[in-house]
């Protein structure tokens, strides 16, 4: 789906005039159209990487605020130019920070919040509020308002169905004007808060935008691993409906592993797992830990201990991994290793899974070794090491390149007011797996 511009040119309105203007818009100019009874989407959209790259002239503007192929291409080059490890994912916040240290003063139009991804607009948000902090922290607040609607060929009726509000300015100005947002959100419709940035950013802003009653979307691949998992667990424990895009990107891995054990003849082997190995790209372990935690939770394993380890002898990895021991329901120990693997062409987000190996030793049949490999990564490391005597089930996991907006649209089509139980169960285990 192609992105869509707002129905009308966004109108600059003084911050204090936003609410009265919207009231006039719906009661006067758009009389007869009550707007979609759907939801409010509140987006924290700093797009630091895109802003930095535009400032440095690495890409052309305007700044739009969602995934663009040219941003990805330029980001991969920038990783090299900035001297970051090759395994650094383009979306890694450290890249934006590194670019921020370089001089540059290119300026460009800023369309954040004014261009709506088609997949999201198809769900007809009643109100789309975008908070767009600028690199210039002292910039005053600008507010823009527009009526907005999906095009008729995508299911819209042609009548206005929602509005878009953009608050753009320096961090200080946004923080000072947070009180503007509350009346815009309203309480009669569900509200989604999409924290489309690193969780390393000041948590006060997250607290202000996403009280527990709102449905929160975060991405635990972006930011310090401990902090990401702690935020995730704390929000889930507080009863918030939390969705983690990093968890959603595990979908094909969970599905592929489940598929291996769909044939009833293989099911018994699941009760006899003795070893689990997961390889991840670069040094971000969160996704791998979430995958391991999901498996552990589903199979009823109890975590005994977890610790950092050095690289495996003979492995490609040159960074520290994580070793842990679980106990199965029958008391047998399960060994777990998560190892970082250097990649020349990492996926867009930090910590993508490269491979998974599960070794089962059922009492009444030959040992089974399940190896799942990513399409791009291969499984050389996991395939090595004396497995000739094992029954081998090897699959390649398809990894569709879906951008955040597509994932977000998938979430919006759901509408649950609670956290997915699988994530709610896996997150605390993942947090405990991460060594202190």
């Amino acid at each position: 789906m192609s992105p869509q511009l707002t129905l009308q040119a966004p109108l600059d309105v003084p911050p204090t005039e936003v609410s009265p203007y919207l009231e006039r818009l719906w009661n006067g100019m758009l009389e007869g159209s009550s707007g979609a009874a759907t939801f409010t989407l509140l987006v924290w959209e700093p797009s630091w990487l895109e802003q930095q790259m535009v400032r440095l002239g690495l890409i052309e503007g305007p700044i739009r605020g969602f995934d663009r192929s040219d941003v990805m291409l330029a980001a991969r080059q920038a990783v090299i130019d900035c001297g970051l490890p090759l395994s650094t994912a383009p979306m890694d916040p450290r890249l934006a920070w590194a670019l921020g240290q370089r001089p540059g003063d290119q300026v460009s139009a800023d369309l954040r919040g004014q261009v709506v991804e088609g997949a999201i607009s198809a769900h007809m948000p009643r109100r789309l509020i975008t908070l767009a902090p600028t690199l210039d922290g002292g910039r005053p607040l600008e507010t823009m308002v527009a009526a907005y609607c999906p095009l008729p060929d995508e299911g819209g009726t042609g009548a206005a169905c929602g509005d878009a509000v953009v608050l753009r300015g320096g961090m200080q100005a946004i923080q000072q004007n947070l009180a503007l947002i509350q009346p815009l959100v309203g309480e009669d419709l569900p509200c989604w808060v999409w924290w489309n940035s690193s969780l390393d950013e000041p948590l006060e802003m997250l607290e202000a935008l996403a009280p527990i009653r709102r449905r929160l979307v975060i991405d635990t691949s972006l930011g310090n691993s401990r902090r990401c998992l702690d935020v995730l667990v704390a929000r889930i424990e507080a009863g918030q409906a939390v969705n983690d895009l990093n968890w959603l990107r595990l979908r094909s891995w969970r599905e592929s592993l489940a598929m291996v054990f769909d044939p009833p003849s293989r099911r018994a082997a699941l009760a006899a797992v003795v070893q689990l190995d997961i390889d991840v790209e670069g040094d971000n372990p969160v996704k791998g830990l979430l995958l391991a935690a999901w498996i552990a939770d589903r199979l009823g394993w109890h975590l005994i201990e977890s610790r950092s380890i050095g690289p495996d002898a003979g492995s490609l990895a040159d960074e520290a991994g994580i070793a842990a021991e679980f106990e199965r329901t029958d008391g047998v120990s399960v060994r777990f290793r998560l190892m970082p693997v250097p990649m020349g062409m990492p996926k867009a987000h930090p910590g993508a899974i490269v491979g998974l190996r599960l070794i089962c030793e059922p009492a009444d049949r030959a040992p089974l070794c399940v190896i799942l490999c990513s399409e791009s990564g291969g499984c050389m490391r996991l395939e090595s090491g004396g497995m000739a005597s094992l029954e081998l089930a090897e699959e390649v996991v398809p990894l569709p390149e879906e951008n955040e907006e597509m994932e977000m649209a998938r979430l919006l089509s759901g509408g649950h007011d609670s956290t997915n139980p699988l994530l709610a169960a896996a997150a605390p285990v993942a947090a405990r797996l991460l060594p202190s």
């Binding site: 009874a37 009726t157 054990f261 009833p264 009823g300 509408g415 649950h416 007011d417």
Partner: protein, 507 residues
């Protein structure tokens, strides 16, 4: 389709569309279907997290029940599920309400509208509604009119109407009912249910055909010699004599279920996977279908009626001896027929349909028999090479099977047939959702792909009109042949195929 151990990694993994906030209104809520199929299906959707938190069920019937009584009745009828998932049921039941409604009383409809507004506020269901007509077929038309008159179908985007089968009892009555229904709501709001389309294996016909490049090139008259579609039941008429006496196998099974399977098997590939593209192709193929002999329909159809049978220990009564059945009844409990489809793909390929009660096995299947190899190079162990067959098993033991010739072990070059099988049970080992789970979800999502459109229904009735007229006007030309219970129907049915040198597959 269950295994002893469930796959713990499979739990909660389905990536399904989630239904938008809404209230489903079930008319006929005191009837069997509601507690046997509809509410259990909704509860299953709830447990799968496919219902949003903003959801409500409003049961409507003439009985003066309260919300609490309705919840208690449903809980009683679903005692096993409630016992297994007590806390889920508690949560689910909070969204269940009841309103006494007689669809013929306009003031009841006004009261219903008010109640729905209250539920909208209480459950945040946003005026989004699915009305399910699970009432006696004679009230379909008047029920639609009543809902329309009360303005409950006015919002085409936020109201949908599900109509149970049978949709009409012949071409004329189906046309008339379509006119009434379409005067009350847009076609996009109308969901005519055929629960066979909710079956995983029926939907798999589409996937098998159009997700695999190997089948479509040979799925035509150049390679297929004939197609057999069978839906066999072991049970008799049971408690349905009242309805069955007026319907018979032709109306009860062939016009809807078997014809839908025929359409899915024979349709052209749709340009895209959306409801209208698929239904266009289904309608087109049904419009191209005809009885093998329209001038003398008795030549291409055989009717039968089961007689007594069974064993001395377990005797089975004949149809005419069943409670509620006219002792002189001429209602068919078995019907077999031969059809052709007049289009480029299927010209000259006979399609044989059969269904019956009290047959030896309960099964539904589609069998595509391929043409013989042009030259027989090898001796066949069985005397003659067996033609290749692709068998799509719809129930039970859901799956598919391909029969082909291989070299028989040993010296020489003799061929013998073998089976290559796919079984849902062996591959997935999980029970598939009950058909109503899928169909209800689709209706609430506003997705009509698995529902029949007005032109499909009419084309299906038109296809059998010569037979229905014959049964009505000159029944002696299409006599009801008796057959012994637990046999494969009357011998006359074999003659339908014998003239082409074929036999029914004995599953």
């Amino acid at each position: 389709m269950t295994s002893l151990l469930t796959n713990p990694l499979r739990v909660g993994l389905r990536q399904e569309r989630v239904i938008s906030p809404q209230c489903i209104v079930i008319f006929g809520a005191s009837g069997d279907l509601t507690h046997r199929k509809l509410v259990p299906a909704l509860f299953e959707l709830f447990r799968q997290r496919r219902l949003p938190s903003e959801f409500a069920i409003l049961g409507c019937a003439r009985r003066p029940w309260s919300d609490e009584q309705f919840r208690a009745k449903m809980a009683e009828a679903m005692a096993d599920q409630v016992a297994d998932h007590g806390s889920s049921w508690e949560q689910f039941a909070q969204g269940m309400f009841y309103e006494p409604v007689d669809l013929q009383q306009s003031e009841h409809l006004l009261r219903l509208g008010t109640r729905l507004d209250i539920i909208d506020r209480l459950r945040a269901t946003r005026g989004n509604r699915t009305f399910y007509l699970s009432v006696s077929p004679e009230f379909y038309g008047s029920g639609c009119r009543a809902l329309a008159a009360a303005g409950l179908l006015a919002d085409a985007e936020r109201s949908r109407l599900v109509i149970e089968k049978p949709f009409g009892r012949d071409y004329g009555s189906a046309q008339a009912l379509n006119k009434v229904v379409q005067a009350c709501a847009k076609e996009s709001q109308i969901f005519r249910i055929d629960h066979y389309l909710g079956k995983e294996t029926v939907q798999n016909i589409l996937v098998l055909r159009f997700a695999n490049a190997i089948f479509e090139p040979i799925w035509n008259r150049n390679y297929i010699s004939n197609v057999q579609i069978t839906a066999a039941e072991t049970v008799g008429v049971e408690e349905r004599a009242g309805y069955y006496e007026t319907a018979g196998a032709l109306r009860d099974m062939v016009q809807n279920h078997l014809t839908q399977i025929l359409a899915l098997t024979a349709m052209e590939p749709p340009g895209r996977f959306d409801a209208e593209a698929i239904r266009n192709e289904k309608a087109k193929v049904l419009q191209a279908a005809r009885l093998a002999n329209q001038q003398e329909p008795w030549q291409c159809c055989v009717r039968g009626q089961y007689g007594g049978g069974g064993t001395r220990e377990k005797p089975l009564s004949g149809y005419r001896q069943e409670p509620g059945v006219n002792p002189n009844s001429t209602t068919e409990t078995y019907v077999a027929m031969k059809l052709f489809i007049d289009n480029w793909r299927w010209q000259g390929v006979p399609f044989y349909l059969r269904t019956g009660k009290r047959l030896p096995k309960r099964l539904s299947e589609v069998v595509l028999t391929f043409r013989e190899a042009p030259v027989h190079l090898f001796d066949a162990a069985g005397g003659a090479p067996t033609p290749n067959q692709l068998i799509l098993r719809i129930q039970p033991d859901e799956g598919a099977e391909f029969k082909f010739e291989v070299k028989a072990p040993g010296s020489g070059m003799r061929s013998r047939p073998v089976d290559m099988g796919f079984s849902y049970d062996d591959s997935f080992g999980e029970p598939s959702d009950e058909g109503y789970v899928r169909l209800l979800a689709d209706a609430m999502l506003g997705d009509p792909t698995l529902y029949t459109r007005s032109d499909e229904v009419e084309a299906a009735w038109r296809l059998y009109t010569p037979l229905l007229e014959l049964i009505e006007e000159s029944p002696w030309q299409l006599p009801v042949h008796p057959y012994e219970a637990r046999t494969w129907g009357p011998a006359a049915a074999d003659n339908l195929l014998a003239e082409a040198g074929l036999i029914w597959r004995r599953p």
